[in-house]
Amino acid sequence: MVGKTRSGPLVALALGLFWASGAVAAAALPPVAPATANHTRLTLLADSAAVQPRRAIRLGLLFDLDPHWHIYWINPGDSGEPPGVTWRLPTGFQAGDLEWPVPERLSNGPLTDYGYQNTVLLMSEVRVPAGISEPKVNFAADVHWLVCSDVCITAKTSVSLDLPVQRATSKRESRSAGLFRAAQQALPRSMPALWRVTAEDQGSTFEIRLRTGTSIRNASFFPLEFNEVENSKPQNAVASATGVDLTVYKSDQLLTPIRQLRGVMVIDGGRAYQLTAAVERSGARAD
């Protein structure tokens, strides 16, 4: 079972580089002070040092958490709540949905949640309009989140970032561009077109059959919907010649058949993919 996310160390590494390089470049750029609230330092970052008309940028909310505290994935699991953001962007700018790196499984007695510890960058792609009249633009985000260790606390704050507007054609990376690249590596990718995935309804379990063309030994599934898969029960991966069969327990709260099972599958090497598996009824099995 691949329980640990790969995003943590990567982001931490990139964050280290970010701070290291940041020290060098600090004189050239205005410092971005994190907003501190309830065991979290939150900073709004951009992958670009400037805004150019019609060139999309990525904004990112960097959550830097106290040791042993965590926030939640888009599906928080058995308890908790994912962070929420309301963007305040200049006219004509448009933010996409938050992009969620692969979470960690966080066990708590009989419960299992999905979330992030240490640091995580939640990114959003922002469309930039053709006409910008101002010499600089301000991006702001009202963020609320639940942060938990043994106890849970809600937090909310606003963060903002100014970027100059440039007409030049070359894209200037910001000093946190490395952090964005690492976070993008940790995002689940779309499943390659030639892969196949189905889920067989076996009564109390689903058998997710992923066929990629090569044998896969490790697999771990993170459901996107609630009340479909039992979060705290073990998952069992069996390698096949051309992929992997992963058995996951159904949720006790799943009362009606579902047509598809959506989630993120992490396989050998920590690679993560978004899956939508059509659910097929079990054959003429007696059980």
Partner: protein, 203 residues
């Protein structure tokens, strides 16, 4: 002799699987006996013929706090206990964990906030919580007069800690009790419970 043993083993397995079966809407609610904050013992089976609500509680959890600070939970308790519904608030926080209280502390709290459950069941070992698969505070269950589970999930459809969300929220428990008492099917019988995790004792 051998066959006997096999039959016995199968029987034990079947019994175990029944025992391990979590609460499931449409099926008999798991039977329990638990002690309340006044030292009284309550067996679920003693309440056949009545609707029973189970409300998982942790006073220091911000989600629970939202429904108590606003008076929402207390109003719901008053409304339904006045109509003969049995309302058990259940505390499964382990000693030393958030939300754990002694019986005296709980009784003082009930008076202070004017809560009106039938009784508060103290479950510091988490047995009742685990039996029902209680995940969050609050996590709500409704059991019908035949002892069948008819609702399992959230208190309402606004999974936030913001008191201002209560006014526009659709209360699933209120809706389930209203429908079931009128002999109607419960339209939304399973939802995702939201809130803090139940602070169980480590296994």
């Amino acid at each position: 002799m051998k066959i006997h043993r096999m039959v016995l083993a199968v029987l034990v397995l079947v019994m175990l699987s029944v025992l391990l079966q979590a609460a499931r809407v449409g099926e008999p609610a798991p039977e329990f006996t638990a002690t309340d904050s006044n030292g009284q013992s309550h067996a679920l089976s003693a309440y056949r013929g009545k609707f029973v609500v189970l409300e998982w509680h942790n006073r220091d959890c911000p989600y629970t706090h939202k429904h108590y600070a606003s008076g929402n939970m207390e109003r719901l308790q008053q409304k339904w206990t006045a109509r003969g519904v049995v309302w058990f608030t259940v505390i499964s926080s382990a000693p030393g964990k958030q939300g754990y209280v002694t019986a005296d502390e709980e009784n003082a709290y009930i008076r202070e906030v004017h809560a009106a459950p039938t009784a508060v069941l103290l479950d510091p070992e988490g047995k009742l919580g685990r039996l029902y698969g209680a995940k969050t505070t609050p996590h709500m269950f409704v059991i019908d007069p035949d002892g069948k589970l008819v609702y399992d999930g959230a208190i309402d459809d606004k999974p936030t800690t913001d008191v201002s969300d209560i006014a526009a929220a659709h209360n699933y428990v209120d809706a389930a009790l209203t429908a079931a008492i009128a002999g109607q099917p419960v339209e939304v019988s399973v939802t995702r419970p939201y809130g803090c995790s139940v602070k169980y004792a480590r296994e």
